[in-house]
Protein backbone atom coordinates (compact mmCIF):
# COMPACT_ATOMS: atom_id res chain seq x y z
CA UNK A 1 0.00 0.00 0.00
CA UNK A 2 2.52 2.62 1.13
CA UNK A 3 4.85 1.92 -1.78
CA UNK A 4 2.28 3.19 -4.25
CA UNK A 5 1.59 6.40 -2.37
CA UNK A 6 4.31 8.47 -4.01
CA UNK A 7 3.32 7.63 -7.56
CA UNK A 8 -0.35 8.28 -6.87
CA UNK A 9 0.39 11.59 -5.31
CA UNK A 10 2.30 12.48 -8.41
CA UNK A 11 -0.42 11.57 -10.88
CA UNK A 12 -3.05 13.38 -8.90
CA UNK A 13 -1.02 16.53 -8.51
CA UNK A 14 -2.67 18.20 -11.52
CA UNK A 15 -5.59 19.30 -9.45
CA UNK A 16 -4.34 18.40 -6.03
CA UNK A 17 -7.15 17.35 -3.79
CA UNK A 18 -6.92 17.93 -0.12
CA UNK A 19 -9.86 15.77 0.80
CA UNK A 20 -12.30 13.90 -1.38
CA UNK A 21 -12.66 11.16 -3.97
CA UNK A 22 -10.96 10.46 -7.26
CA UNK A 23 -12.63 8.07 -9.70
CA UNK A 24 -10.08 7.01 -12.27
CA UNK A 25 -10.06 4.71 -15.31
CA UNK A 26 -13.52 5.52 -16.59
CA UNK A 27 -13.94 4.76 -20.31
CA UNK A 28 -14.11 8.03 -22.22
CA UNK A 29 -17.42 7.00 -23.79
CA UNK A 30 -19.23 6.58 -20.48
CA UNK A 31 -17.68 9.35 -18.40
CA UNK A 32 -20.77 11.50 -18.42
CA UNK A 33 -22.97 8.58 -17.44
CA UNK A 34 -20.70 8.10 -14.44
CA UNK A 35 -21.14 11.79 -13.66
CA UNK A 36 -24.91 11.30 -13.63
CA UNK A 37 -24.74 8.17 -11.49
CA UNK A 38 -22.78 10.09 -8.85
CA UNK A 39 -25.28 12.94 -8.96
CA UNK A 40 -22.45 15.42 -9.40
CA UNK A 41 -24.73 18.04 -10.98
CA UNK A 42 -26.21 18.65 -7.56
CA UNK A 43 -22.96 18.98 -5.61
CA UNK A 44 -21.79 22.34 -4.29
CA UNK A 45 -18.13 21.36 -3.78
CA UNK A 46 -15.30 21.67 -6.29
CA UNK A 47 -15.42 19.05 -9.05
CA UNK A 48 -12.86 18.40 -11.77
CA UNK A 49 -13.85 16.26 -14.73
CA UNK A 50 -11.20 15.23 -17.25
CA UNK A 51 -11.74 13.24 -20.41
CA UNK A 52 -9.74 11.75 -23.27
CA UNK A 53 -6.67 11.54 -21.08
CA UNK A 54 -3.96 9.10 -22.11
CA UNK A 55 -4.22 5.74 -20.39
CA UNK A 56 -2.04 2.68 -20.81
CA UNK A 57 -5.00 0.39 -19.99
CA UNK A 58 -7.93 2.04 -21.77
CA UNK A 59 -6.23 4.10 -24.48
CA UNK A 60 -8.28 7.10 -23.52
CA UNK A 61 -9.88 7.53 -20.17
CA UNK A 62 -11.95 9.83 -18.09
CA UNK A 63 -11.39 10.91 -14.50
CA UNK A 64 -13.60 12.58 -11.90
CA UNK A 65 -12.26 14.39 -8.84
CA UNK A 66 -14.68 15.53 -6.19
CA UNK A 67 -13.56 17.65 -3.21
CA UNK A 68 -14.76 17.00 0.30
CA UNK A 69 -17.11 14.17 -0.62
CA UNK A 70 -16.76 10.49 0.14
CA UNK A 71 -19.43 8.50 -1.61
CA UNK A 72 -21.02 5.49 0.05
CA UNK A 73 -20.08 2.09 -1.24
CA UNK A 74 -23.41 1.43 -3.01
CA UNK A 75 -23.10 4.63 -4.99
CA UNK A 76 -19.54 3.83 -6.00
CA UNK A 77 -20.44 0.30 -7.01
CA UNK A 78 -23.11 1.66 -9.35
CA UNK A 79 -20.24 3.20 -11.31
CA UNK A 80 -19.38 -0.36 -12.32
CA UNK A 81 -22.46 -0.37 -14.58
CA UNK A 82 -20.70 2.01 -16.97
CA UNK A 83 -17.07 1.72 -15.82
CA UNK A 84 -16.36 -1.79 -14.55
CA UNK A 85 -12.62 -1.11 -14.29
CA UNK A 86 -12.90 2.19 -12.45
CA UNK A 87 -10.50 2.78 -9.55
CA UNK A 88 -11.52 4.75 -6.51
CA UNK A 89 -9.02 6.76 -4.49
CA UNK A 90 -10.11 8.29 -1.21
CA UNK A 91 -7.98 11.34 -0.40
CA UNK A 92 -7.47 12.69 3.08
CA UNK A 93 -5.04 15.53 3.66
CA UNK A 94 -3.44 15.09 0.20
CA UNK A 95 -2.76 11.42 0.84
CA UNK A 96 -4.44 8.47 -0.84
CA UNK A 97 -5.75 6.79 2.28
CA UNK A 98 -7.82 4.15 0.54
CA UNK A 99 -7.87 2.53 -2.90
CA UNK A 100 -10.84 0.56 -4.01
CA UNK A 101 -12.15 -1.29 -7.03
CA UNK A 102 -15.79 -1.03 -7.96
CA UNK A 103 -17.87 -4.18 -7.65
CA UNK A 104 -20.78 -4.66 -10.02
CA UNK A 105 -23.87 -5.55 -7.95
CA UNK A 106 -25.93 -8.61 -8.99
CA UNK A 107 -29.05 -6.51 -9.18
CA UNK A 108 -29.37 -2.83 -10.01
CA UNK A 109 -32.33 -0.91 -8.63
CA UNK A 110 -33.21 2.36 -10.29
CA UNK A 111 -30.42 4.38 -12.02
CA UNK A 112 -30.75 2.61 -15.40
CA UNK A 113 -33.75 3.23 -17.62
CA UNK A 114 -35.22 0.31 -19.57
CA UNK A 115 -34.84 0.97 -23.32
CA UNK A 116 -38.09 -0.86 -24.14
CA UNK A 117 -40.90 1.72 -24.52
CA UNK A 118 -43.47 -1.04 -23.92
CA UNK A 119 -41.90 -2.00 -20.59
CA UNK A 120 -44.00 -1.57 -17.45
CA UNK A 121 -41.25 0.61 -15.96
CA UNK A 122 -41.85 3.17 -18.72
CA UNK A 123 -45.61 3.06 -18.30
CA UNK A 124 -46.26 3.04 -14.57
CA UNK A 125 -44.39 4.61 -11.67
CA UNK A 126 -42.26 1.49 -11.10
CA UNK A 127 -38.60 1.54 -10.09
CA UNK A 128 -36.46 -0.25 -12.66
CA UNK A 129 -34.77 -3.50 -11.69
CA UNK A 130 -31.99 -5.13 -13.71
CA UNK A 131 -30.18 -8.40 -13.21
CA UNK A 132 -26.56 -8.59 -14.29
CA UNK A 133 -26.51 -11.59 -16.64
CA UNK A 134 -22.96 -11.21 -17.96
CA UNK A 135 -20.45 -9.65 -15.57
CA UNK A 136 -17.57 -9.68 -18.03
CA UNK A 137 -19.35 -7.73 -20.77
CA UNK A 138 -21.66 -5.95 -18.32
CA UNK A 139 -24.94 -7.07 -19.84
CA UNK A 140 -28.08 -6.28 -17.85
CA UNK A 141 -31.54 -7.77 -18.21
CA UNK A 142 -34.73 -5.99 -17.24
CA UNK A 143 -36.45 -7.94 -14.46
CA UNK A 144 -39.85 -6.98 -15.88
CA UNK A 145 -39.77 -7.12 -19.68
CA UNK A 146 -36.66 -9.25 -20.16
CA UNK A 147 -34.90 -6.78 -22.48
CA UNK A 148 -31.12 -7.17 -22.34
CA UNK A 149 -28.81 -4.20 -22.73
CA UNK A 150 -25.11 -3.46 -22.59
CA UNK A 151 -23.62 -0.77 -20.39
CA UNK A 152 -22.83 1.21 -23.55
CA UNK A 153 -26.57 1.37 -24.29
CA UNK A 154 -27.61 2.07 -20.72
CA UNK A 155 -29.48 5.32 -20.29
CA UNK A 156 -29.05 6.72 -16.81
CA UNK A 157 -32.26 8.04 -15.26
Amino acid sequence: MSASHTSNKKSLAVAALRNGTVIDHIPESTLFKAVRILGIENLQTAVTIGNNLESSKLGKKGIIKVSDVEFDENTLNRIAIVAPKAKINIIRDYEVTEKREVVLPDRILGIVKCPNPKCITNNEPVQTKFDVIDREHVILRCHYCGRALTSQDAVIE
Binding site: N116, K118, C119, I120, N123, E124, V126, Y144, C145, G146
Partner: protein
Protein backbone atom coordinates in the same frame (compact mmCIF):
# COMPACT_ATOMS: atom_id res chain seq x y z
CA UNK B 1 -42.68 -14.24 -5.56
CA UNK B 2 -43.80 -16.05 -2.45
CA UNK B 3 -46.66 -17.93 -4.07
CA UNK B 4 -47.44 -20.13 -7.03
CA UNK B 5 -47.72 -17.40 -9.61
CA UNK B 6 -46.66 -18.30 -13.14
CA UNK B 7 -45.24 -15.34 -15.04
CA UNK B 8 -42.53 -16.94 -17.16
CA UNK B 9 -41.63 -20.49 -18.10
CA UNK B 10 -38.31 -19.79 -16.37
CA UNK B 11 -40.20 -19.62 -13.05
CA UNK B 12 -40.64 -23.39 -12.97
CA UNK B 13 -38.10 -26.20 -12.97
CA UNK B 14 -38.05 -29.56 -14.71
CA UNK B 15 -39.91 -31.40 -11.94
CA UNK B 16 -42.66 -28.78 -11.90
CA UNK B 17 -43.00 -28.89 -15.68
CA UNK B 18 -43.39 -32.68 -15.58
CA UNK B 19 -45.89 -32.44 -12.73
CA UNK B 20 -48.00 -30.00 -14.76
CA UNK B 21 -47.87 -32.26 -17.82
CA UNK B 22 -48.97 -35.28 -15.79
CA UNK B 23 -51.81 -33.28 -14.29
CA UNK B 24 -52.80 -32.13 -17.80
CA UNK B 25 -53.03 -35.79 -18.81
CA UNK B 26 -55.25 -36.42 -15.79
CA UNK B 27 -57.54 -33.52 -16.75
CA UNK B 28 -57.75 -34.76 -20.29
CA UNK B 29 -59.15 -38.02 -18.91
CA UNK B 30 -61.25 -36.29 -16.21
CA UNK B 31 -62.03 -32.78 -17.49
CA UNK B 32 -64.81 -32.07 -14.98
CA UNK B 33 -63.11 -32.71 -11.67
CA UNK B 34 -64.58 -29.99 -9.38
CA UNK B 35 -61.43 -28.98 -7.54
CA UNK B 36 -62.27 -25.26 -7.52
CA UNK B 37 -65.54 -25.40 -5.64
CA UNK B 38 -66.14 -22.01 -4.03
CA UNK B 39 -63.18 -20.33 -5.76
CA UNK B 40 -63.49 -17.13 -7.75
CA UNK B 41 -61.00 -16.43 -10.52
CA UNK B 42 -60.51 -13.09 -12.30
CA UNK B 43 -59.61 -12.98 -15.99
CA UNK B 44 -58.27 -9.50 -16.62
CA UNK B 45 -57.69 -9.00 -20.34
CA UNK B 46 -56.28 -5.52 -20.79
CA UNK B 47 -55.63 -6.63 -24.35
CA UNK B 48 -58.32 -8.68 -26.07
CA UNK B 49 -57.47 -12.30 -26.89
CA UNK B 50 -60.64 -14.30 -27.29
CA UNK B 51 -58.85 -17.58 -27.90
CA UNK B 52 -56.74 -17.49 -24.74
CA UNK B 53 -59.51 -16.07 -22.58
CA UNK B 54 -62.04 -18.71 -23.60
CA UNK B 55 -59.51 -21.45 -22.94
CA UNK B 56 -58.74 -20.17 -19.43
CA UNK B 57 -62.39 -19.52 -18.60
CA UNK B 58 -63.41 -22.97 -19.80
CA UNK B 59 -60.65 -24.44 -17.64
CA UNK B 60 -61.99 -22.62 -14.54
CA UNK B 61 -65.57 -23.60 -15.32
CA UNK B 62 -64.73 -27.26 -15.85
CA UNK B 63 -62.93 -27.25 -12.51
CA UNK B 64 -66.09 -25.88 -10.88
CA UNK B 65 -64.80 -22.39 -10.13
CA UNK B 66 -66.41 -19.07 -10.99
CA UNK B 67 -65.05 -16.34 -13.25
CA UNK B 68 -65.24 -12.57 -13.08
CA UNK B 69 -63.33 -10.13 -15.24
CA UNK B 70 -63.20 -8.15 -18.42
CA UNK B 71 -62.14 -8.90 -21.97
CA UNK B 72 -61.08 -5.46 -23.12
CA UNK B 73 -59.42 -2.67 -21.15
CA UNK B 74 -61.57 -0.13 -23.00
CA UNK B 75 -64.45 -1.08 -20.74
CA UNK B 76 -62.54 -0.74 -17.46
CA UNK B 77 -61.23 1.93 -15.17
CA UNK B 78 -57.85 1.63 -16.92
CA UNK B 79 -59.35 3.75 -19.68
CA UNK B 80 -60.04 6.38 -17.02
CA UNK B 81 -56.34 6.45 -16.14
CA UNK B 82 -56.26 4.06 -13.20
CA UNK B 83 -52.86 2.46 -12.75
CA UNK B 84 -52.35 -1.27 -13.14
CA UNK B 85 -51.35 -1.39 -9.49
CA UNK B 86 -54.68 0.04 -8.36
CA UNK B 87 -56.67 -2.30 -10.61
CA UNK B 88 -54.77 -5.33 -9.31
CA UNK B 89 -55.21 -4.23 -5.69
CA UNK B 90 -58.93 -3.68 -6.20
CA UNK B 91 -59.49 -7.06 -7.88
CA UNK B 92 -57.36 -8.80 -5.22
CA UNK B 93 -60.08 -7.97 -2.68
CA UNK B 94 -62.50 -10.24 -4.47
CA UNK B 95 -60.74 -13.25 -5.96
CA UNK B 96 -58.52 -16.24 -5.26
CA UNK B 97 -56.55 -16.06 -8.49
CA UNK B 98 -55.80 -13.50 -11.20
CA UNK B 99 -55.27 -14.53 -14.82
CA UNK B 100 -54.13 -11.51 -16.79
CA UNK B 101 -53.13 -10.48 -20.26
CA UNK B 102 -51.61 -7.09 -20.98
CA UNK B 103 -49.98 -5.32 -23.92
CA UNK B 104 -47.38 -3.83 -21.54
CA UNK B 105 -44.32 -6.06 -21.11
CA UNK B 106 -43.55 -6.97 -17.53
CA UNK B 107 -47.11 -6.17 -16.40
CA UNK B 108 -47.70 -9.63 -14.91
CA UNK B 109 -44.36 -9.65 -13.06
CA UNK B 110 -45.20 -6.27 -11.62
CA UNK B 111 -48.68 -7.49 -10.64
CA UNK B 112 -47.11 -10.27 -8.53
CA UNK B 113 -45.24 -7.58 -6.61
CA UNK B 114 -48.33 -5.61 -5.65
CA UNK B 115 -50.62 -8.45 -4.56
CA UNK B 116 -50.44 -11.64 -2.48
CA UNK B 117 -53.00 -13.30 -4.75
CA UNK B 118 -51.36 -15.68 -7.26
CA UNK B 119 -51.10 -14.36 -10.81
CA UNK B 120 -51.02 -16.33 -14.05
CA UNK B 121 -49.57 -14.48 -17.01
CA UNK B 122 -51.75 -15.06 -20.07
CA UNK B 123 -49.39 -13.00 -22.23
CA UNK B 124 -47.61 -9.68 -21.70
CA UNK B 125 -46.90 -8.07 -25.05
CA UNK B 126 -43.98 -9.70 -26.84
CA UNK B 127 -42.58 -11.01 -23.57
CA UNK B 128 -43.97 -14.20 -21.96
CA UNK B 129 -46.91 -16.56 -22.41
CA UNK B 130 -46.07 -19.60 -20.28
CA UNK B 131 -49.38 -21.46 -20.67
CA UNK B 132 -48.73 -21.57 -24.43
CA UNK B 133 -45.35 -23.16 -23.77
CA UNK B 134 -46.83 -25.73 -21.40
CA UNK B 135 -49.52 -26.69 -23.88
CA UNK B 136 -46.82 -27.00 -26.54
CA UNK B 137 -44.83 -29.28 -24.24
CA UNK B 138 -47.91 -31.32 -23.44
CA UNK B 139 -48.63 -31.69 -27.16
CA UNK B 140 -45.09 -32.87 -27.81
CA UNK B 141 -45.15 -35.22 -24.83
CA UNK B 142 -48.50 -36.67 -25.79
CA UNK B 143 -47.69 -37.25 -29.45
CA UNK B 144 -44.14 -38.51 -29.02
CA UNK B 145 -44.57 -40.35 -25.72
CA UNK B 146 -41.52 -38.51 -24.37
CA UNK B 147 -39.89 -35.09 -24.31
CA UNK B 148 -36.39 -36.52 -24.52
CA UNK B 149 -33.98 -36.63 -27.48
CA UNK B 150 -36.33 -35.17 -30.10
CA UNK B 151 -35.51 -33.40 -33.37
CA UNK B 152 -37.49 -30.18 -33.26
CA UNK B 153 -37.63 -27.82 -36.23
CA UNK B 154 -38.74 -24.25 -35.66
CA UNK B 155 -39.87 -22.42 -38.79
CA UNK B 156 -40.81 -18.89 -39.73
CA UNK B 157 -40.45 -15.84 -37.52
CA UNK B 158 -37.76 -16.88 -35.06
CA UNK B 159 -36.75 -13.33 -34.26
CA UNK B 160 -39.94 -12.00 -32.72
CA UNK B 161 -41.77 -15.25 -32.02
CA UNK B 162 -41.99 -15.48 -28.26
CA UNK B 163 -43.49 -18.99 -28.41
CA UNK B 164 -40.37 -20.44 -30.02
CA UNK B 165 -38.07 -18.64 -27.58
CA UNK B 166 -39.99 -19.99 -24.59
CA UNK B 167 -40.04 -23.46 -26.11
CA UNK B 168 -36.24 -23.45 -26.35
CA UNK B 169 -36.01 -22.42 -22.69
CA UNK B 170 -38.42 -25.15 -21.59
CA UNK B 171 -36.81 -27.90 -23.70
CA UNK B 172 -33.39 -27.30 -22.10
CA UNK B 173 -34.00 -30.22 -19.72
CA UNK B 174 -34.78 -32.77 -22.42
CA UNK B 175 -31.76 -32.96 -24.73
CA UNK B 176 -33.42 -31.71 -27.92
CA UNK B 177 -31.78 -31.11 -31.29
CA UNK B 178 -33.09 -27.91 -32.85
CA UNK B 179 -33.23 -26.73 -36.42
CA UNK B 180 -33.90 -23.03 -36.81
CA UNK B 181 -35.39 -22.37 -40.25
CA UNK B 182 -35.80 -18.69 -41.08
CA UNK B 183 -34.83 -15.98 -43.50
CA UNK B 184 -31.96 -13.67 -42.65
CA UNK B 185 -34.25 -10.93 -41.37
CA UNK B 186 -36.15 -13.18 -38.96
CA UNK B 187 -33.44 -15.54 -37.76
CA UNK B 188 -33.01 -16.71 -34.20
CA UNK B 189 -31.52 -13.96 -31.99
CA UNK B 190 -27.99 -14.51 -30.73
CA UNK B 191 -29.25 -14.53 -27.13
CA UNK B 192 -31.12 -17.82 -27.66
CA UNK B 193 -28.33 -19.40 -29.66
CA UNK B 194 -25.98 -18.57 -26.81
CA UNK B 195 -28.49 -20.10 -24.41
CA UNK B 196 -28.35 -23.33 -26.44
CA UNK B 197 -24.54 -23.32 -26.44
CA UNK B 198 -24.49 -22.73 -22.68
CA UNK B 199 -26.86 -25.63 -22.11
CA UNK B 200 -25.10 -27.94 -24.56
CA UNK B 201 -28.11 -28.04 -26.90
CA UNK B 202 -27.29 -28.92 -30.51
CA UNK B 203 -28.78 -26.63 -33.14
CA UNK B 204 -28.32 -25.76 -36.79
CA UNK B 205 -29.56 -22.75 -38.73
CA UNK B 206 -31.10 -23.10 -42.18
CA UNK B 207 -32.52 -20.62 -44.61
CA UNK B 208 -34.12 -23.39 -46.69
CA UNK B 209 -37.11 -25.35 -45.46
CA UNK B 210 -35.68 -28.39 -47.20
CA UNK B 211 -36.77 -31.98 -47.61
CA UNK B 212 -33.84 -33.16 -45.49
CA UNK B 213 -34.93 -30.95 -42.63
CA UNK B 214 -38.55 -32.08 -42.85
CA UNK B 215 -37.72 -35.79 -43.19
CA UNK B 216 -35.55 -35.87 -40.09
CA UNK B 217 -37.96 -33.95 -37.81
CA UNK B 218 -40.08 -35.37 -34.99
CA UNK B 219 -41.78 -32.02 -34.46
CA UNK B 220 -42.14 -29.13 -36.90
CA UNK B 221 -43.23 -25.98 -35.14
CA UNK B 222 -44.54 -23.45 -37.64
CA UNK B 223 -44.97 -19.74 -36.90
CA UNK B 224 -46.50 -16.88 -38.80
CA UNK B 225 -44.28 -14.64 -40.89
CA UNK B 226 -45.88 -11.23 -40.52
CA UNK B 227 -45.49 -8.57 -43.12
CA UNK B 228 -45.14 -5.78 -40.55
CA UNK B 229 -41.96 -7.41 -39.21
CA UNK B 230 -40.07 -6.55 -42.36
CA UNK B 231 -38.20 -3.33 -42.89
CA UNK B 232 -37.81 -4.31 -46.55
CA UNK B 233 -41.13 -5.32 -48.12
CA UNK B 234 -39.35 -6.72 -51.18
CA UNK B 235 -37.68 -9.17 -48.85
CA UNK B 236 -41.08 -10.11 -47.42
CA UNK B 237 -42.40 -10.83 -50.92
CA UNK B 238 -39.34 -12.95 -51.62
CA UNK B 239 -39.56 -15.12 -48.50
CA UNK B 240 -43.24 -15.24 -47.55
CA UNK B 241 -43.92 -18.51 -49.41
CA UNK B 242 -40.54 -20.08 -48.76
CA UNK B 243 -41.60 -21.00 -45.21
CA UNK B 244 -45.05 -22.36 -46.08
CA UNK B 245 -45.87 -26.00 -45.55
CA UNK B 246 -47.82 -28.00 -48.15
CA UNK B 247 -49.06 -31.55 -47.82
CA UNK B 248 -46.84 -32.83 -50.64
CA UNK B 249 -43.77 -31.81 -48.63
CA UNK B 250 -44.67 -34.41 -45.98
CA UNK B 251 -44.61 -37.47 -48.29
CA UNK B 252 -41.42 -38.99 -46.91
CA UNK B 253 -41.53 -37.52 -43.41
CA UNK B 254 -41.19 -39.66 -40.28
CA UNK B 255 -44.36 -41.52 -39.21
CA UNK B 256 -44.24 -39.94 -35.75
CA UNK B 257 -43.90 -36.38 -37.12
CA UNK B 258 -46.39 -33.85 -35.83
CA UNK B 259 -46.94 -30.31 -37.12
CA UNK B 260 -47.55 -27.70 -34.44
CA UNK B 261 -48.57 -24.06 -34.75
CA UNK B 262 -49.65 -21.63 -32.00
CA UNK B 263 -52.54 -20.37 -34.21
CA UNK B 264 -53.98 -18.32 -35.71
CA UNK B 265 -52.33 -19.35 -38.98
CA UNK B 266 -52.61 -17.46 -42.20
CA UNK B 267 -50.96 -19.13 -45.18
CA UNK B 268 -47.86 -20.68 -43.63
CA UNK B 269 -49.69 -24.01 -43.47
CA UNK B 270 -51.74 -24.84 -46.57
CA UNK B 271 -55.30 -26.05 -46.06
CA UNK B 272 -54.37 -29.38 -47.66
CA UNK B 273 -52.22 -30.23 -44.63
CA UNK B 274 -55.24 -30.14 -42.31
CA UNK B 275 -56.43 -33.63 -43.23
CA UNK B 276 -53.02 -35.20 -42.85
CA UNK B 277 -52.85 -37.11 -39.54
CA UNK B 278 -49.52 -35.40 -38.92
CA UNK B 279 -51.31 -32.06 -38.64
CA UNK B 280 -51.74 -31.49 -34.93
CA UNK B 281 -52.42 -27.76 -34.47
CA UNK B 282 -56.13 -28.03 -33.73
CA UNK B 283 -55.62 -30.75 -31.09
CA UNK B 284 -52.72 -28.66 -29.80
CA UNK B 285 -55.14 -25.80 -29.08
CA UNK B 286 -57.47 -28.20 -27.26
CA UNK B 287 -54.55 -29.41 -25.14
CA UNK B 288 -54.37 -25.83 -23.91
CA UNK B 289 -57.50 -26.44 -21.87
CA UNK B 290 -55.92 -29.35 -19.96
CA UNK B 291 -52.59 -27.61 -19.50
CA UNK B 292 -54.40 -24.55 -18.14
CA UNK B 293 -56.47 -26.65 -15.75
CA UNK B 294 -53.19 -27.95 -14.34
CA UNK B 295 -51.64 -24.46 -14.18
CA UNK B 296 -54.69 -23.05 -12.41
CA UNK B 297 -54.67 -25.84 -9.79
CA UNK B 298 -50.97 -25.34 -9.15
CA UNK B 299 -51.44 -21.58 -8.78
CA UNK B 300 -54.17 -22.17 -6.20
CA UNK B 301 -51.90 -24.42 -4.18
CA UNK B 302 -53.70 -27.64 -5.05
CA UNK B 303 -51.13 -30.40 -4.81
CA UNK B 304 -50.70 -31.77 -8.32
CA UNK B 305 -48.94 -34.89 -7.07
CA UNK B 306 -52.19 -35.90 -5.31
CA UNK B 307 -54.07 -35.42 -8.56
CA UNK B 308 -51.40 -37.34 -10.43
CA UNK B 309 -51.54 -40.22 -7.96
CA UNK B 310 -55.32 -40.43 -8.24
CA UNK B 311 -54.92 -40.88 -11.99
CA UNK B 312 -53.17 -44.21 -11.41
CA UNK B 313 -56.30 -45.88 -10.14
Amino acid sequence: MGNNSLVSIADINKAEILEILEAAAYFEAHPNHKLLDGKVVATLFFEPSTRTRLSFETAVNRLGGRVIGFSDAGTTSTSKGETLKDTIKMVSNYVDLIIMRHFIEGAARYATEVTDIPVINAGDGANQHPSQTLLDLYSIYKTQGTLNDLNITLVGDLKYGRTVHSLIMAMQYFNPTFRFVACEELKMPEEYKQFCRDKGITFTEETNFSKDVIDSSDIIYMTRVQRERFTDLMEYERVKDRYSLHNSMLDTSKPNLKILHPLPRVNEIAQDVDDNPKAYYFQQARNGLYARQAIICRALGIDLSTINRSSDC
